[in-house]
């Protein structure tokens, strides 16, 4: 290939960074789509594109992202791969998530660090308006984790760019989205292999909408949490002589000297004296910043505690949606380690309210939780945890469960309701 083809566009240092994930059923063409995004946005280096010469039908775009020997041998993607590219307007981080069922937990991982989910569907595999179970599962996870969704209807060239087939997929997905209460969805017909409607325009006359990249550039961002209530979990207490500095990352809201706060879990009133970033004083810092805060008063606050706004509430019992991620199924009565913010405590799943059956998206009663299950549960914690709903405060409305014996990450949780 001509070297000039791979001249990188100027990166956008001023713009937003959009983090998105890709998901879809096995062989629907996720890795090929990412290869196409990298190739056509000209971020690939000559050595990385080596071996891609040849005509469109011969290029193995998936080889760009299927990094591991084991994957190339089996022709599947094992784990989340992170990729970086930029258009003149926006820079992107892609979390490429595998579709193979046993690795669905990796999609949860990818979703947790993404703003947008691109769900790839092979148009030829949607039969009589029915999506494959993995696609439904991925839609359910994206919905659970509050992501906007872009559906890339792939391999459109193989069905002659049939508008009827495209509409059939759109209808089938909208049915699922209705059940899952997903609001922000966009659809785009593409051929990842031939590079049509991915970065460059192509395909049929009947589609005049944006390409996939244009959709991503214009994707509705998660709302800024800068004006939300302050949540600053304390990771470590630093000392400057006799002064104690509470260091952590702001998960929501903003902080400045003079702010009235509550420090928890005791929820004692305090005042912010100084805010430092990297050792230097700042007048203001907001969500995303790693800061060290000095309080005017001497308060009992340690690692795992929280500096929060004055309305903060704590709870010991919450209702949460849970994605089970461990190969070991849940054992009733067993204690797990719960991590929320910088706090680790013990937790007990007291009740499974229902498990979501992804084949028909019904809520069904269940007494067990196993790998890939999505369930609504009631959780009790030994120590008070922040009573934050995931939908409003995703930074602290989320928690994970660890298995105390195997140290495996057992589940991802999202708080929906406060019980007490």
């Amino acid at each position: 290939m001509d070297g000039a083809t791979f001249f990188r566009p100027t990166q956008n240092w001023n713009g937003e960074q959009v983090r998105f994930m890709t998901a879809g059923s096995v062989d629907d063409g996720k890795s090929t789509l990412i290869g196409r995004l990298l190739l056509d946005s000209k971020v690939l280096m000559r050595d990385q594109a080596a071996g891609l010469d040849g005509d469109a039908d011969e290029i193995d775009l998936a080889a760009l992202t299927d990094g591991l020997e084991a994957e190339r041998a089996q022709g599947i993607t094992i784990d989340v791969a992170y990729r970086y590219f930029a258009t003149p307007r926006t820079s992107f981080i892609i979390a490429d998530s595998p579709g193979h069922e046993q690795y669905t937990r990796n999609m949860v991982t990818a979703a947790s660090v993404s703003d947008v989910a691109v769900i790839v569907i092979d148009v030829a595999r949607v039969e009589q308006g029915v999506l494959r179970p993995q696609t439904r599962r991925h839609a359910a996870v994206a919905a659970l984790m509050g992501l906007n969704i872009i559906v890339a209807v792939n391999k459109m060239d193989l069905v002659g760019w049939s508008q009827d087939r495209f509409d059939e997929v759109r209808g089938a997905f909208n049915d699922v989205a209705g059940i899952l209460n997903i609001k922000n969805i966009a659809f785009v017909p593409v051929s990842a292999k031939r590079g049509e409607n991915v970065v460059h325009r192509g395909g049929p006359d009947w589609y005049q909408g944006p390409t996939l990249v244009e959709l991503l550039e214009g994707a509705p961002r998660k709302q800024s949490l800068a004006t939300a209530p302050l949540r600053l979990p304390v990771q470590v207490v630093l000392r400057d002589g006799d002064t104690r500095l509470y260091a952590g990352r702001i998960e929501s809201g903003a902080v400045k000297p003079g702010d009235k706060v509550r420090v928890g879990p005791g929820a004692f009133a305090a005042t912010v004296a100084h805010v430092r970033v990297g050792g230097a004083g700042v007048a203001y810092a907001e969500v995303g910043a790693s800061v060290a805060v000095e309080l005017s008063e001497d308060r009992d606050l340690a690692q795992g505690g929280v500096i929060a706004d004055t309305e903060v509430r704590y709870a010991r019992r919450v209702v949460a949606d849970l994605c089970w991620l461990d190969e070991n199924a849940w054992v009733p009565g067993r204690r797990y380690r719960l991590r929320q913010g910088a706090l680790e405590t013990q937790a007990l799943i007291e009740e499974i309210r229902f498990v979501r059956d992804v084949s028909n998206l019904d809520n069904v009663p269940s007494s067990e939780l196993k790998l890939n299950d999505i369930a609504s549960v009631q959780v009790a914690a030994r120590d008070p945890i922040l009573a934050d709903a995931f939908a409003e405060l995703p930074g602290t409305g989320a928690f994970v469960l660890f298995d105390a014996d195997t140290n495996q990450t057992a589940a991802a949780g999202m708080i929906r309701e406060i019980v007490q």
Binding site: G67, V113, G278, G279, A280, Q303, R337, R339, V400
Partner: protein
């Protein structure tokens, strides 16, 4: 993410607000990456004996700078560790010692030479690359000092196998990475737990690109070893790369030695690290070159990764970083 520094507060409050706001926005991406790395480094207080891998290279220089920021005004609660292949550029080692002393942190150096003397490493030849042998020496150092967490400057944009690694990468007692058994990593709620004998590798720069690193070096005015910037050096052209000529890497009989203006994009073992032609004299110049480069960092400079497509994956399975 916005930060208003005290010194800029006046401008923000006065008529200069628009301009200042624009410059703050321009920082947003680096501020975000810095905040994420600081958050990750502060997670290290979970461990009893963490160490930061510090070679004196640019990524580890950035990492050390971030660590100093993360715990300021206190000292970072970890030692610095360097696994010396014995084939390092002297000016890089000088820089390593100087920075460690300035930071006031204990520097532990363990050499592949010692492993060779012990017999735990055997090389095919005296000038063979010692990169693979580093993993052995690393594990030996880890056992000697009972390090339970090792912080590395690796980035996901460097290489295919790295692109799949977690920020908190769990290793068994043999230091081996098991890609199929990686723990799910959700939000920033890292799973730091270890069983006896196991250890964690932590990569705070996971989401940085080569360009981000240079932009940060420029912004923070970080010192680096001089060989990262343009200098005249004796090289030969070998396998499409410029190969540095030193005492331990002599030219082959049929090769013609040239003296060219070059800089290094990565600095590792002399026997497998190659410079690129460049006139870039400072971090801003390098950033510009990086943004218009057409060959990836490791592809342009690392002979060891070119051995075969899965070279890095295999080394990681054996405990390499």
């Amino acid at each position: 993410m916005r930060l208003a520094y005290d010194t800029e507060r006046g401008a923000l409050m006065s008529g200069g607000a628009l301009e200042t706001h624009a410059s703050l926005a321009a920082m947003a991406r680096l501020d975000r990456l810095e905040a994420e790395a600081v958050y990750i480094l502060r997670e290290l207080t979970h461990y009893a004996r963490p160490a930061l891998m510090f070679s004196g290279g640019k990524d580890s220089a950035v990492l050390l700078h971030l660590a100093l920021k993360a715990f300021a005004p206190a000292k970072p609660p970890f030692a610095l560790l360097h696994i010396d292949t014995g084939h390092n550029f002297p000016e890089v080692l000088e820089f390593r010692d100087q920075r460690a002393a300035e930071a006031g942190l204990k520097l532990v150096v363990r050499g592949v030479e010692e492993s060779i003397r012990r017999g735990s490493v055997r090389l095919a030849s005296e000038t063979a690359s010692r990169n693979a042998a580093q993993a052995v020496t690393l594990l030996e150092a880890q056992q000697e000092f009972q390090f339970d967490a090792l912080i590395g400057g690796a980035r996901r944009d460097e290489e295919k196998a790295r692109a799949k690694e977690r920020v908190f990468s769990h290793r068994d007692a043999f230091g081996a990475w098991r890609p199929r058994a990686q723990r799910p990593e959700l939000w920033g709620l890292y799973n730091r737990h270890l069983a006896a004998g196991e250890n964690m590798r932590i990569f705070p720069l996971s989401n940085w690109t080569e360009a981000d690193v240079w932009a940060y070096i420029a912004r923070e005015k970080l010192a680096l070893p001089a060989l990262y910037y343009t200098h005249d050096r004796d090289v030969v052209r070998r396998d499409g790369l410029l190969f540095p000529i030193t005492e331990i890497t002599p030219p082959r009989a049929d090769e013609r030695v040239e003296r060219l203006p070059v800089r290094f994009r990565t600095v590792g073992d002399i026997t497998c690290t190659c410079p690129v032609e460049s006139f870039a004299a400072n971090a801003e110049d390098v950033l510009l070159e990086t943004l218009t480069a057409s060959v990836s960092e490791r592809g342009a400079t690392r002979m060891d990764d070119r051995a075969n497509a899965a070279a890095m994956e295999r080394r990681k399975l054996e405990g390499y970083f």
